[in-house]
């Protein structure tokens, strides 16, 4: 196959545009492009930020005076629950995802993210899930048990309404979006880069986002598990958290904070990544301590999973154990301090100049350092026991999150807005907006430290005048309204700049990273051809690259077969190993998102059998995404320019989708580990054990299930072996599907015979959950095996095109290992309460 001949830059631009552009009108609903979706994520997140901000102002209006009659406690509880929920789940996470989706491919020298349709599906899940929550707020049935949803307050006995279900289901829906973004970001950074960009040449932001995405993969599963267990308790009375029947409210706290603390760093790290990109530009010096910062980010990633208990110092844990978590919490200040001093050192080593983004970064330094210092205070157990659950903590967390996320994001907005719009800013409104936000913020929250130490607990709707908190609260409220005016001014400023800013040629800040080598505003394909990177990718010459790339003198500088192509590289050394053909714009993600939303709505209104219909539709739609991928004949290596060639991704050894399955299984394994932790925790710690009736499992059936699980994995591998020998794998795949179906039947029989009433005690409920996990995995395995048969029938498989079966085989292997562990866990849990044969 010949390399298409080079063409003029203008013709190349038109050719690529014809392939990559999203259609106008209704075609916008089929957008899968990262530039389009990145912007949509950012705008949607900002809308939710505004909603969360209005909620905050209502809270401050209520607390401005003692014995306020502005709203009653029922409404107030909804206000603060939704404020926290919206800001955490609907603003901070999606906002950073939007930035990452928009910027990452351009910083890495790729044309798009690895899974554009997944980006779109994630966006729709996010918007629909968020809309459910906001609709509930408008209807007055919003969640009201706090954003942390502690049981038993959030269980059906004390929150009988739909409110808590809206939180559990709506947030889980939004988390589909977060997890898919995490997988996509991880794989995109590891595989979709410019040739020559080895792992030690990544722009620093990519390191930050890589660690963040990995933290999401391991941080979100505990919360998703907790939400599912709590919803199972609320809907079907399975007593995971009911202390009378062997459950424990502390299990919820562990699962929640196992997610909740990493969440704080998941929010901070991307912002720190943006800071690490902006500071070198304004210092006019490469980032100092690049390797030290990478070590610090990784250290933060690990440490953040070891300090969740500092949210739970008052639950009655032995003092020595508290000391361990206290030390770990203090320890995290070291890698954070290291980053701050690396930024200062970068400024000190260069020739710094001041501009609007730097003004906002100065605000970040002041606020975040104070937040860090109060954080160290709170890590100290005796002090924590006084300050915990008071307004001191409210002050601290706003210093950390607003300082560590909002201010850097405001700086980033001013810094990258010229890239999005192609227009430079003028400074008329950005400076007064800064002083209003900065001054208002400190007035609101600095005083709040004292309010807390004067004994004002969090989440109280009113307070008596004799408590001596009235002046502090009034000043905080005034400050919050100043801050709100500042944000309004910021919005006006952004609109004015988008509308009236002066056009410029390229790179107004003199930045040294690849995203400034695209035309601005960027075309859908980002780069007309892909660069070869010879130095660290946050200190190269974008102007030089820009000219060469637009002329098509890089890699893939042509339009071939109407394909949307980008390059995949080896993870470590960054040399091209495949041509990744990306999917065209399609409306399927929207339909799939709608179908997923229908499942959520069915569950919300307790139409459980009806939910099976949208579930079937969702699965069918997801499978139909692959109809257009792959090919019916082998292509062999394709030329990619510069005399090199590479296999198309479905013929490559380790394409992005294979890695995506690996990381998905990693998250899945974390979910399973959390479930096993929960089961052991309940058996050891919870009150009301041992159970009145101990399950004695049917060992014969369990052994049969284990054999079938292992058989399914072996059949999956035999199918792969036969395909490699150019024989049809269909028979093995059929046996694989049958084995999985057999597992489902046997496990269902075990549940029916041994656990007739899972509501009896947590012992029964936990066994039910573990067996349910095994059941679901074999169910999915069955579908994947049948899907392989289908792909074979459509001629999409060959010895070279075995990707579908290799991905399936990963699943079958995991299902066998996890399934056998699950069955052993069932036996062990029964024995532990005296259920020996």
């Amino acid at each position: 196959m010949d390399q298409p001949s080079p063409s003029s830059p203008i013709k190349l631009h038109h050719d690529l545009q014809a392939i990559w552009d999203t259609k106008p009108g209704w075609g916008r609903l089929s957008a899968v492009n990262h530039t389009v979706l990145g912007k949509r994520f950012i705008i949607a997140a900002f809308v939710f930020f505004a909603i969360g901000g209005v909620l905050a102002m209502l809270i401050r209006a209520q607390l401005a005076t003692p014995r306020s009659a502005f709203v009653g406690p029922d409404i107030y509880n909804q206000l603060f629950t939704m404020h926290g929920t919206v800001m955490m789940f609907l603003f901070a996470i999606p906002m950073f995802e939007g930035f990452a989706i928009y910027l990452l491919p351009k910083m890495l020298g790729a044309r798009d993210m690895a899974f554009p349709r997944l980006t779109a599906y994630g966006f729709w899940c996010y918007v629909f899930g968020g809309s459910i929550l906001i609709a509930a707020l408008l209807l007055g049935v919003a969640p009201d048990s706090g954003w942390f949803m502690y049981t038993p307050l959030s269980s059906s006995t004390y929150s009988p309404g739909i409110n808590a279900d809206i939180w559990l289901l709506g947030i889980t829906f939004v988390e589909i979006s977060a997890l898919s973004a995490a997988i996509e970001i991880t794989v995109s950074i590891l595989k979709l880069r410019a040739p020559g960009m080895s792992i030690d040449r990544l722009p620093i932001m990519a390191w930050y986002l890589l660690v963040t995405a990995l933290m999401m993969l391991f941080g979100f599963p505990p919360l998703i598990l907790g939400s599912i267990l709590l919803e199972l308790e609320r809907a079907f009375d399975l007593p995971f958290f009911d202390p009378v029947r062997g459950g424990d409210s502390l299990l919820w706290q562990h699962l929640f904070w196992l997610f909740g603390h990493p969440e704080v760093y998941i929010i901070f790290l991307p912002a720190a990544g943006a800071i690490s990109m902006m500071i070198p530009t304004f210092a006019r010096h490469p980032l100092v301590g690049y390797r030290a910062i990478i070590a610090a980010i990784i250290a933060v990633g690990f440490l953040s999973f070891g300090l969740w208990v500092h949210h739970m110092f008052a639950i009655g844990i032995p003092h020595l154990a508290l000391a361990f978590f206290s030390a770990a919490s203090g320890l995290v200040a070291i890698p954070t301090g290291l980053q701050i001093f690396a930024w200062i050192a970068t400024l000190a080593s260069g020739r710094p100049r001041f501009d609007v983004p730097m003004l906002y970064l100065a605000g970040f330094f002041v606020i975040f350092v104070i937040g860090g210092l109060t954080g160290v205070m709170l890590a100290m157990v005796p002090f924590n026991l006084q300050a915990h659950d008071t307004h001191f903590v409210v002050a601290h967390l706003h210093y950390v999150l607003v300082g560590g996320f909002v201010f850097p994001m405001l700086a980033a907005a001013y810094y990258w807005l010229p890239h999005i719009t192609g227009r430079v800013s003028d400074h008329k409104l950005s400076v007064p907006a800064f002083w209003l936000i900065f001054g208002g913020f400190n007035m609101t929250f600095f005083l709040m430290h004292l309010t807390g130490l004067l004994g004002m607990p969090r989440r109280i709707a009113s307070y008596p005048p004799e408590a001596k908190w009235e002046w502090l609260n009034l000043l905080s409220s005034v400050g919050s309204f100043l801050m709100a005016i500042g944000f309004a001014l910021f919005v006006v400023d952004i609109i004015l700049q988008v509308r009236f800013g002066k056009a410029f040629r390229r790179n107004p800040w003199g930045a040294r990273s690849l995203e400034w080598a695209t035309p601005t505003p960027p075309p859908a394909y980002a780069f007309a051809s892909l660069p070869r990177v010879q130095s660290r990718a946050d200190w190269l010459d974008p102007e030089d690259h820009a000219v060469k790339l637009a002329a098509g003198r890089g890699y893939l500088g042509f339009a071939r077969y109407g394909w949307m192509e980008t390059l995949g590289v080896g993870m470590i050394e960054g040399e091209p190993d495949q041509v990744i053909v990306l999917p065209k714009p399609t409306i399927l993600p929207l339909w799939t998102g709608l179908a997923t939303g229908a499942i959520v709505l069915c569950l919300l209104f307790k139409a459980y059998w009806l939910a099976l219909l949208p579930l079937a539709i969702t699965v069918t739609l997801l499978l139909s995404w692959t109809r257009t991928t792959g090919a019916q004949s082998d292509l062999g290596p394709l030329p990619i320019g510069h005399g090199q060639s590479a296999a198309v991704h479905w013929e490559a050894e380790r394409p992005p989708s294979w890695w995506a399955m690996v990381f998905t299984l990693g998250a899945d394994a974390t979910f399973f580990a959390s479930l096993l932790f929960g089961c052991v925790f309940l058996a050891l710690i919870a009150p009301a054990w041992p159970p009145p009736v101990v399950v004695s499992p049917s060992y014969g059936l369990l052994a049969l299930a284990a054999l079938l699980m292992i058989a399914a994995a072996i059949y999956g591998r035999l199918a792969l072996r036969d395909l490699a020998r150019t024989r049809s794998p269909s028979a093995w795949l059929g046996l694989c599907a049958l084995s999985h179906a057999g597992v489902c039947a046997v496990v269902a029989a075990v549940i029916a015979s041994d656990i007739p009433d899972p509501t009896l005690h947590a012992h029964h409920a936990t066994l039910f959950a573990i067996l349910g996990y095994a059941f679901l995995h074999s169910g999915v395995g069955c579908i994947l095996a049948l899907y392989g048969v289908q792909r074979q029938r459509h001629g999409k498989l060959s010895a070279l095109r075995s990707l579908d079966l290799r991905i399936g085989s990963l699943w079958h292997d995991y299902a066998a290992v996890a399934g056998v562990v699950a069955l052993l866990a069932v036996v062990a849990l029964c024995w532990s309460v005296g259920g020996r044969p």
């Binding site: 202390p243 610090a296 050192a345 000190a348 005796p382 002090f383």
Partner: protein, 219 residues
Amino acid sequence: MVLLLSACAGDLSALDAAGPNARNVANLWWIMVAGSAAIFVLVGAILCLSFTQPGRHWLSARWLIVGGGLVMPSAVIAALVATSFALGERLLVHAEQAPVRIEATARQWQWEFRYPGSDGALSFNELHIPAGRPVDFTVTSGDVIHSFWIPRLGGKIDAIPGHTNTIRLLAEKPGHYGGICAEFCGEGHAVMRFAVEAHEPQRFTEIVDPLNASGAGQQ
């Protein structure tokens, strides 16, 4: 300073300590405030200098990252963790006198206190304790999670259904102190307060155990 101290007064002020537990924490707080202010000024000054006088040798990258990013936080945190661990241990033991045991049960939205003694006296939203003598509170909940907190005496402990937690507090002088639920517990969270009366020991015995009061002196 006087203004500051008077601003710190209040029924529920953790800074207006009335017992050793709260006093130690308040002292720790003032030490940490002073240290934090110093660190804040130092970091701020270095940041300003990095802008106004870049390129100076004493602002070298290695010095900043190793000194500011590693050595300073490590030293501060090691000292703080050790101090507060020692402090926490002292809060736990320290009992020359046998402590009085009072059971506190939280319910939406009321505190129930059960006293030792022959008739198991009860009180609601009103807690009587002896002054000058340690009190062990065994805290639990009858429904959702609450948190037992008397800010002027010391830190808080959660009231969790199915679990019983213990906290030891001591009021140095007779007097009136405020108590409040610190964990969000539903619509009545804001009004779930209780009044703490610390009495002379003799008076305490009369109140909670009138039958044995006459014989209290002979024990």
